[in-house]
Amino acid sequence: MLRRVTLFSLSKRKKEDEKVAKYIVKRFGAALLSLFIIITLIFCLLRLMPIEGYLGANVDKLSEEVIAAKLAAKGLDKPVPVQLFNFYRNLARGDLGKSWIYRENVDIVKIIKPKIKISAKLGAMAMALSLVVGIPLGALMARTKGKWPDKLGTGFIVFLQAAPSAVYFLFIQMYATKGTGLPMLYNDSKPISWILPIISLALPSIANYGMWMRRYMVDQMNQDYVKLARAKGVSNKAVMMKHVFRNAFVPMVQTIPSSLLFTIMGSLYVESIYSVPGMGGLLIDVIQRQDNTMVQALVLIFASVGIIGLFLGDILMVLVDPRISLTGKGESR
């Protein structure tokens, strides 16, 4: 009998695995399609912009003949579909092209690589910090629900989410460096200069993690199994740690891969005030300079990151939470 049960559950698991695989493949295909549509759309839209951006800084001082010669040399007199086709041909070889304006004639991959590294490094540290601070904060608030630590925490979280971050980041930079010996600007070789950017980067996520952790825990605290555990006489602490916290952490897991991946996008505010040479604001920068190849490349990267992040998050959830079954949910759609 025991044997039969095992066999049954094994075959069920196998079926489940197939489902997961199928699901992954399907998701992957859809993701590729989304990427294709996004890139094509951006590519065409950028071609609708005025020509100034293609001609460098001196366009007003160029004569008509020179402008015409330049456009022809760049292939911009060709129809958009041809240009698009060339773009995809290069993309297929893993070549994102060269920047035109942001750093003239330099491979985009070469520009972006070190930036991603720095943003990811700081971002990962900030994320670690925010998890280490935010999760216990949320747990503490949930445990002391309605009492002053909870109220204080809520106030802190609401403030962080409500106040314009451009303002309080600058505030931190100006006042935290006064007399403390902390440098105002980031320096890759001096870890002490990383402190303030990391804290600034972490603050909003601390608020975020704290808020969600508290919510999930409070949610769990009302579940029947918690009542049962308490009725059984399990100590409050044990209930919290063993049951509530663990279960509440599961939904948090899902967001971690994408948050981690998104750190490579950098933070516009923080990186720009601390001179962190990362990705923050790069997209805006290249958009404003109309460096089309860079815009395409960045949109491609960010969209891919978004898709991969979601994807990993979902997979992770399936792995972490045994209750989730693709079959069940799939049918309810």
Partner: protein
């Protein structure tokens, strides 16, 4: 569409529900009573009640009214009550402010008698919030900016709702559209929100219309997804099936059975849309893609004030920042409280 991600909104709502439940639980089932408390209990409550025919007949009907319960639940929260009143006063004031006597037009530039501009005057009796770098009255500009930003926020929130609910219903009900809409949703949802905002603001010319359009483009997503999920979930619940079996019309099911479930979330979504629109506006302005600077908006005022932070003119930052913070905090808290209150499960 991501299968496992609960709607963010749902989770926010569920917190409120959980709060209420827990409170009820605590109130009804005190963990351990002290001997004094035990002594204080009314012994008559432990006596057997006698059977009474008339009382037995009374069951089965309550004078439950959804909206009254909602408002009562909301009104019981002191902070929310206070914030609501303060917010209403603020909104009323922003609307009537230009019609009050002695108010200055926000775009008027003031000169001294010698022809120089009244720049950066600190707050005074004449100019309550001082003047800005071009000699405009900051008091008038803050309120005019609040008006602009609230107007944008309102338009965006309403269109988020309209677009979101329409698409959500279509998505949930019309099976043929499901795959297509799911794909559209995926495409938009896969790109970070800020990138969409930036791209749209860049491609169109910066201005109020662009800002509204770009925010609407990303705002309806959450709502539509939520409505769709709700429709799929609630449609086939037992009590709805029962209703349908008993001959209740679809319309009535929608209004009486489905809508109350959604009102809480729609309200919450609307309330949260307003602060997020305002912070998006501040963000876009920071990126240089905001509204024309001569139109006062909270984003513009904060951005202008930010440059003054380290000077004695920092009042130019403090006033608009206070308004932004206040509006955001109150909408956030009120929205959450109202969402809790409007959830019928909390009316027990």
């Amino acid at each position: 569409m991501s299968l496992f991600r609960k709607g963010a909104v749902m989770e926010k709502a569920s917190e409120g529900m959980a709060d209420q439940l827990e409170k009820a639980l605590r109130d009804s089932l005190p963990d351990d009573l002290t001997p004094e408390q035990v002594a204080a209990l009314d012994p008559s409550r432990f006596e057997m009640a006698e059977y009474d025919d008339t009382l037995a007949e009374k069951t089965g009907y309550s004078s439950y009214s959804y909206w009254r319960s909602t408002f009562r639940a909301f009104w019981n929260n002191k902070v929310a009550r206070f914030l609501l009143i303060a917010l209403l006063v603020l909104i009323a004031f922003t609307i009537i402010q230009p019609h009050l006597p002695g108010q200055r037009p926000p775009a008027q530039i003031y000169d001294f008698d010698d022809g120089s501009v009244m720049r950066n005057l600190p707050p005074s009796h004449d100019f309550w919030f001082g003047t800005n770098a071009v000699g405009q009255d900051l008091w008038a500009r803050v309120w005019s900016g609040t008006r602009t930003s609230l107007l944008i926020a309102l338009i965006v929130a309403i269109s988020d709702n309209v677009i979101g609910i329409t698409i959500g219903i279509l998505w949930g009900y019309v099976r043929k559209l499901d795959a297509f809409l799911t794909e559209v949703y995926n495409i938009i949802d896969n790109i970070p929100r800020t990138i969409i905002l930036i791209l749209i603001s860049y491609i169109l010319r910066p201005g109020m219309a662009t800002m509204i359009i770009s925010m609407c483009c990303v705002g309806w997503l959450g709502m539509a997804r939520f409505i769709r999920n709700q429709i799929l979930m609630i449609r086939d619940r037992d009590y709805n099936l029962a209703s349908r079996c008993l001959g209740t019309s679809t319309g009535k099911i929608m209004i009486k059975n489905l809508l109350p479930y959604m009102v809480s979330v729609i309200m919450l979504q609307t309330a949260l849309a307003i602060p997020s629109v305002i912070s998006d506006e501040v963000f876009l302005t920071y990126c240089g893609l905001g509204m024309p600077k001569n139109i006062a908006s909270l984003g513009n005022l904060v951005e202008e004030g930010r440059k003054m932070m380290m000077t004695s003119s920092r009042y130019q930052l403090i006033f608009p920042a206070l308004v932004v913070t206040f509006i955001t905090v109150s909408f956030y808290l009120i929205g959450n409280t109202f969402a809790d209150a409007s959830d019928p499960r909390n009316h027990v």
